[in-house]
Symmetry: D2
Subunit: 346 residues, 4 copies
């Protein structure tokens, strides 16, 4: 049988060797628990340098759901609403985490093609809002996902357009950065350009899909949000006693562009895959801006692809989703293309 | 200057080599995220074997606060009260986590010497309860800490006495097992004897202070609690995408008695320290059943102990708390005793 | 200037004389607080008789928002979702009350013409649900509004169709009965037919818009829901010490069909208004099944209507909403029609 | 059989005729719902005048539990703690309402004789607090009950002493005013002296036990608290559509000292009762500062008192609690004394 090739999710990848080495380095001697260690202090400095912001603060947590929902709870009053795309992870895939941590805050979907909020739709939503009316949840935070869960990206300019609309109504802005490194790698802009310079007040760093072992993080630029997060992270059980081992992973991740290099690998192998599938005349349903591609194939072809050892999810009988990760190699892609070619005819 | 010797907290220790090796072993190939991996399945089997219970279930989470508060939220209705000792961690050190996850559930302290709930005090508390009166939070869960945060332990017989009182009133029972391995190592009873056979329905496994890198866990014996935890862990952000790396740590931890051996080391070095201090005529304020000792010394002696490179916390000007960990060696103890002896006279 | 005629909302009406008399009757002697009085016991009997259900229970509360959100919190787990129409009051007008009391439960809109959930849309929503996946809020309760906030009604048969679909998926069913008496008056069915015989497990009685002074109520048919509500109503501050004065209002309301007679008056005056407007060739945007009518008029006409002493809300520049109440008289309608006629030409 | 005389609770009393008349007066014509009516505006003016504070705001709600817990939720962050006496109603009798509305805020008891917080105990509690440590709920609000649930009172000077201690630590101050009119009637100070001039930021007005039909209220002096309450009252279902009927009760209650006159009646009849019992040599366990008296009698005497038609609660076999209300008359007291005298000997 063929060796399996992983295209189900970047979440299925393992840990980058640089991260494993950093953990081993930190496992010497004792260090105070709950973040009162030297690595966590250094992580803060690293974040401030990488994001070019003197007030940036960082809170390591164990998951993207924690990073999103705790930040949003700190930004949104209980009677507020978080505005996001109809397909956003916080609305569809976190089982009400933001509403729970937010004391019953609402999450409201806004429409838009390509999984991106349409500025006009956001304006329209605001115009339909009864501002100041306590019967109506008050829009308080705009949350954007970059790249989206479907592989599309907002440019800094598009983000600015949306955060400007939101800011005029008094909303703050949050970014779900589950794959932010993939977006940065493609856009070529600086981390600051994609975040605070584009009007973002807090975001999730999203390292888990891109090579770390046990940490995501909230990064925020507003000390008032950070002041709340000190308590909100603790009382939700997200302040690990051995935080040094989370912090050291993130230091390594953000140092020497490791995060961007890892993301580049997943983006580049996806581009190679897309180019190869193009030659095979396989219908592609999206431009794979980052590391995610949807293709349409005959159901029988999809069946044969699975039999050939390719691991992937089927969105519909004839729609296949393919995702690469930092661990995907050019050889994996070439092997996969060879197998796919062989499945196209019975 | 002398090399420092760590007696502040077992939380300050690092990761055991067996745990590091297990993580490295699991970092091969891809695996589905969020617990749908083979390690997490094996962890469940391991827990069932070690705790001799066919319905045991296990949920890796990142902290003891998460393990305690999520389990308690699954066990206690929002209008209920969790009964614990006045000094319990869940009441004094988790910033209201149980009340938050529990939808406003109350935590009620019960008195007792040696940081243990006194059976008579529990009975009295129940007699003062207006059962069925909705003006009054209804006692719903008994939570015991074994060993307590102050190093005292409940025997299985003492636990049975308390859970029997509680059970007669319809309460379920929870155990905060932040250092449960230390208790097991001393008591010499089986893990089952200290938990479900003593009437415990769910407990926190408490691995973080005893050699693991990034995981604690909830273990429960009641499928109804487990059914809630599936959702409660996810929506609180405690289902890590890379759960396999938590599960593999816990498999290694529970295999071949590693957890008990690590705990034995911290207990034994503490016993060695206590014996040495006894010879030095240092006043000991407690019997160090596990790995924690409180001593009374002249404040000037404490100052000199700190200058001599011993790391510890002072509970009062003349009271010093000393905690050993699995990383403490006999040599550490002997060096520490030599230093302490030299500090006893100016 | 003309005397003003109220068409803004049935919420603006006062208290029916029968209700005032009942309150005065109960104001004799002392009675135990918090529902331990004879009137509250009699109210329970009354509800069981009127709704023909031996297990019906009733909880007086001060508002429809309280009645809806507390019942839904008792019916939906924190990780659940309440399914309702996109325009439902619980989704659009209660500022997240259900999510707050529900511990972060989600409220999900379902589409449908005429402000009614379309059975096919409900099925589709269920098909898109990842049942048992903790990343996804689990649909747990179906909530229908009868009549809707826009004056349309579901027939018992339509309700049965929807609750049957919901029940197959394990959902319970709730009815927002803010104007249920108006629906009953039009449908001519029994209160049982519109509620439990149609699959409804709990509903709000909605008396506030129809002649009472200070009470709405939750009615439920499932003792398990009632058992939770005993605590949930208290801890949300909705158990009034002087509950006897709420209970006596509801006894009077449900006795001798007072609620239906009051609702008939508002429905009948609306029908008279609609017939009159028809003769005047005013465009009607809906069939006024109950006591609410939307008309399209030239903005200048709407201005003149307001100047003529008619009180109403404008939904758009050229859309006027007219609502009658139990206090609206035939004379009010005839006067209003005369005034409207005079405004149709400048 | 003798006519019964009510000494169980002032909560068991009915509605004062002045209140009934005010409600009838407001039942004319239509008025906008949810507080957008002229009575609610006038109530605000009345409160500002009576309490001599230009920023005072008032929120009618249906119960003291609602008034207390919603105000406290607006004053205390979720990670905060409300400090109150060990016997406070908010801690013992509201089923966790403050923790629920407060997002898991803790309520911490402080000791003190006579059901009053001892200043030294409050200081001690603050000294034991780990300020700024997120593991520890942060004391945020001081809540005092005046008079206490056991009939003792704080003088303005005593309140100032406690709020000054609290204020130095950054806490705000709340007053549970369930019987505040009784305290004012005895103390003879102005409403302002007992509240904001003594450092109180918000309090419950407590009208329900003193003659109104269907309303208590939150009064606050800080616009920031009021701004939150606009939303918090609505989303908890405590904004009644027919608020005008609550507001008009409170206007009447606060006008021409009605509230003080009603409270004076209950205090004076209690004083008459105490004087009479003194002559009968019945042991009194407290000075009845307001309208509550605890006496010690032989259990057989208590039995005979009950048989003689006196309604009261027994705190213990030989301890009887007697409470008067605004409806208690001198004749009631004289009759009661005659009956008690006859029960003292078999």
């Amino acid at each position: 049988m063929n060796a399996q090739i992983e295209f189900r999710s970047d979440n299925a990848a393992g840990v980058a060797p640089e991260i494993m080495a950093a953990i081993a380095d930190a496992n010497t001697g004792s260090a105070l628990a709950y973040g009162a260690d030297e690595w966590t202090a250094r992580l803060r400095d690293t974040v401030r340098a990488v994001f070019e912001h003197p007030d940036a603060d960082v809170f390591p947590v164990i998951s993207g759901t924690a990073a999103n929902s705790l930040a949003l709870a700190a930004m949104c009053p209980p009677w507020g609403a978080v505005m996001c795309h109809d397909t956003a992870h916080i609305l569809q895939n976190e089982c009400g985490a933001t509403s729970m941590f937010g004391g019953g805050a609402m999450i409201r979907g806004v429409a838009g093609d390509h999984y991106r909020i349409e500025p006009a739709a956001l304006e329209q939503s605001f115009e339909a809002t009864r501002w100041g009316d306590p019967h109506h949840s008050q829009p308080s935070v705009l949350s954007l996902t970059v790249p989206t869960d479907f592989g599309t990206i907002y440019t800094p300019k598009q983000i600015v357009e949306l955060t400007t609309i939101a800011s005029r109504r008094g909303l703050t802005a949050h970014l779900d950065g589950a794959r932010i490194a993939n977006a940065l790698s493609v856009l070529g802009c600086s981390p600051a350009d994609l975040t605070w310079r584009a009007g973002i007040d807090a975001f999730s760093l999203g390292a888990m899909k891109n090579g770390v072992l046990s940490t995501d993080a909230i990064v925020c630029f507003d000390p008032a949000i950070a002041a709340e997060l000190v308590y909100r992270t603790k009382r939700s059980g997200h302040v690990a006693s051995k935080m040094r081992f989370q912090s050291v992973q993130l230091i390594a991740y953000l140092t020497d562009d490791l995060w961007l290099r890892l993301a580049h690998q997943s983006n580049a192998t996806m581009a190679r895959l897309a180019a190869g599938l193009c030659k095979l005349d396989v219908e592609q349903l999206n431009e794979p801006d980052v590391n995610m591609l949807f293709i349409r194939v005959d159901p029988a072809v999809a069946d044969r692809m699975a039999e050939a050892g390719l691991l992937f999810y089927r969105i519909a009988a004839d729609v296949v989703r393919l995702v690469t990760s930092f661990q995907t190699t050019d050889a994996d892609i070439d092997t996969a293309l060879t197998r796919i070619e062989s499945t196209l005819t019975p």
